[in-house]
Amino acid sequence: MGNAWIAREISLSARIVFPNKILPYLLVAPQLAITLVFFYWPAGQALYQSMLRQDPFGLKSRFVWFANFRKVLADPAYLNSIKVTVVFSLATAIVAMVVALLLAVMAEKAVRGKGLYRTLLIWPYAVAPAIAGMLWLFLFNPSIGSLAYLLRSLGIAWDPLLNGTHAMILLVSAAAWKQISYNFLFFVAGLQAVPKTLIEAAAMDGAGETKRFWTIVFPLLAPTTFFLLVVNTVYALFDTFGIVHAVTGGGPGKTTETLVYKVYNDGFVNLILGDSAAQSVILMAIVIALTAIQFRYVERKVHYG
């Protein structure tokens, strides 16, 4: 009776009901195990750790409730790190998206060699973050960098090793450059999804090329743009450790120390485990908030009808 019963059940409710009570749990067990071992357990550890304070020699720990959070949130270095992170993330996301959109629009217009442009523009995505960082570091190194030499010959006193703003510009360039390819791919796909007849209709409605872009194409790209905004911000926030580590190491001073980099610095370099854990818990809260926003807005498709 088994098969016939299941088949009828599918056709009636489009839902499979297992006769066995344990089998379904067995089937999801591997996934649950992975999530438990690699997410919930470490997250729980971090949460617990964030409420502990260790003595300077690491011999004993004391449970201090939220004292670490209070300390971290009152620390001017942490507040500076928040500011650095916001500036860095927004700048990286905006630069990466604006340049990618520009490139995508231009690549779409190309009559010949469209495929070649696309392939070449997608390549940087295959470069590892630390390598990308080193690449930019060498190019803009004040003593040996060829582009730094060019900048100096243009009369710009380029020195990312001493000047915090310069270091931030270098960091944003390296991080954005790496992300442009990804954004480019999505923008190209988004542009291709805009129906050609809409553009033609707008042309016949008397809209010039620039006007067509801003009134028709850009609004229709809104879902793509919003998605990329979230992805890029998350990337800049959490995936740029390698670039920061390779290019500036958080310096000069603490001018490029992002939240993620500070977690590493406090935890693994300075060995203040309680503070570091509290910071990573705060970061986790930010990730959850950002993910919630993404799910809420990306799921709702704004313009396509």
Binding site: P195, T197, L198, E200, A201, A202, A203, M204, D205, G206, A207, G208, K211, T215, I216, P219, L220, A222, V302, H303, Y304, G305
Partner: protein, 355 residues
């Protein structure tokens, strides 16, 4: 408003394919010209060249006496209704209609009054705040029409605007388009592959085939005097019956040797045609003088209600006869298909009409 003149217009694609091979059409002011033909005959390409969406390889397109070859679609002051409507999905109905006026810098209050009065004519007033995806197919069609009308352009272009609607709505919109076009008095070009739409809408009917114009004229003239076997078989449903005549003999003998009771054929004609509604059936052995009398076997009877279509085999060809009401014949019957000689059409070797 405006006249539209096409002179020897050609479209040659970079691949070397010639989609339009020299078309000349003169559309007088306020008239509706329908371009009809099978898929790939170049009618849509021609329309897009008038719109300015395709470059013109050779020849000239003139609107209101002014050659517009070098003028882009933005400046031609033409409105087009697309097959898929091409409504801006992120704009409300109101903004869809106002878009063209805003682009031309029309004052705000004038835009408002024009959009609202157009919406009233098209019964869209209650839908102005909706987005296109919240509308039915017929309503979207109206918005597309409204967007064209509200601008009061020199010329309307329609690219198969009714092909996405169901049959009933299509019939309704056809009449509405005709009435609107007439009351607004805007010169229009309408592309369709549906010969019924073409016949009912056109002031001037242009039948196209393989990039060339087969025939131009008022629809009934085209129907009554098709210029070629192509037009004869394309216009009219069911199409005209065509029978091949023998090459050598000047008498009325069909290609398979069937002698038909008829006066000698006209000149060099090799094809004989008659419309299903111009023929009748008789069971009498004697053929009436001076008329076609073709021995035939009934294969199938299609009763449609007011009329019936008899599908017969005669002289090796399939022919259709329309009789009003119920048919007295049934499948398998042997009978004669008769048609009066003035209702016959003759075509020469090249398929051209012989009179």
């Amino acid at each position: 408003m405006a006249t539209v003149d096409l002179k020897d217009v050609r479209k040659i694609y970079p691949s070397g394919v010639e989609a339009v091979k020299g078309v000349s059409i003169a559309i007088p002011d306020k008239e509706l010209c329908v371009l009809v033909g099978p898929s790939g005959c170049g009618k849509s390409t021609l329309l897009r060249m008038i719109a300015g969406l395709e470059t013109i390889s050779a020849g000239t397109v003139a609107i209101d006496g002014k050659v517009v070859n070098a003028i882009g679609p933005t400046e031609r002051d033409i409105a087009m209704v697309f097959q898929n409507y091409a409504l801006y999905p992120h704009m409300k109905v109101y903004d869809n209609m106002a878009y063209g006026l805003r682009n031309r810098g029309t004052p705000k209050d004038e835009i408002d009054s024009r959009v609202r009065s157009t919406a009233k004519v098209l019964e869209l007033s209650a839908l102005l705040d909706r987005r296109p995806r919240e509308l039915s197919g017929g309503q979207r069609q109206r918005v597309a029409m409204g967007r064209a009308i509200v601008r009061n352009p020199k010329v309307f272009l329609f690219d198969e605007p009714l092909s996405n609607l169901d049959a009933k709505l299509r019939g309704q919109m056809r009449i509405e388009i005709k009435n609107l076009q007439r009351s607004l008095g805007v010169t229009s070009v309408y592309v369709t592959h549906d010969q019924l739409e073409a016949m009912t809408l056109a002031d001037i009917l242009v039948v196209m085939n393989a990039g060339l114009v087969e025939q131009t004229g008022p629809p009934l003239d085209v129907y009554e005097k098709p210029a070629s076997t192509f037009v004869a078989s394309f216009i009219g449903a069911p199409p005209m019956n065509l029978l091949a005549l023998t090459g050598a003999s000047p008498s009325s003998v069909l290609a398979d040797g069937t002698v038909i009771g008829l006066a000698p054929r006209l000149g060099k004609a090799v094809t004989l045609g008659f419309r299903p509604e111009d023929a009748d059936i008789t069971f009498a052995a004697e053929a009436p003088a001076g008329a076609l009398a073709l021995p035939a076997t009934v294969e199938a009877v299609e009763p449609v209600g007011a009329e019936s279509f008899l599908h017969c085999v005669a002289a090796g060809s399939r022919i259709v006869v329309r009789v009003s009401g119920r048919a007295s014949a049934k499948p398998g019957d042997q009978l004669r298909v008769v048609a009066r000689s003035e209702k016959l059409h003759w075509f020469d070797q090249a398929g051209k009409r012989v009179d």
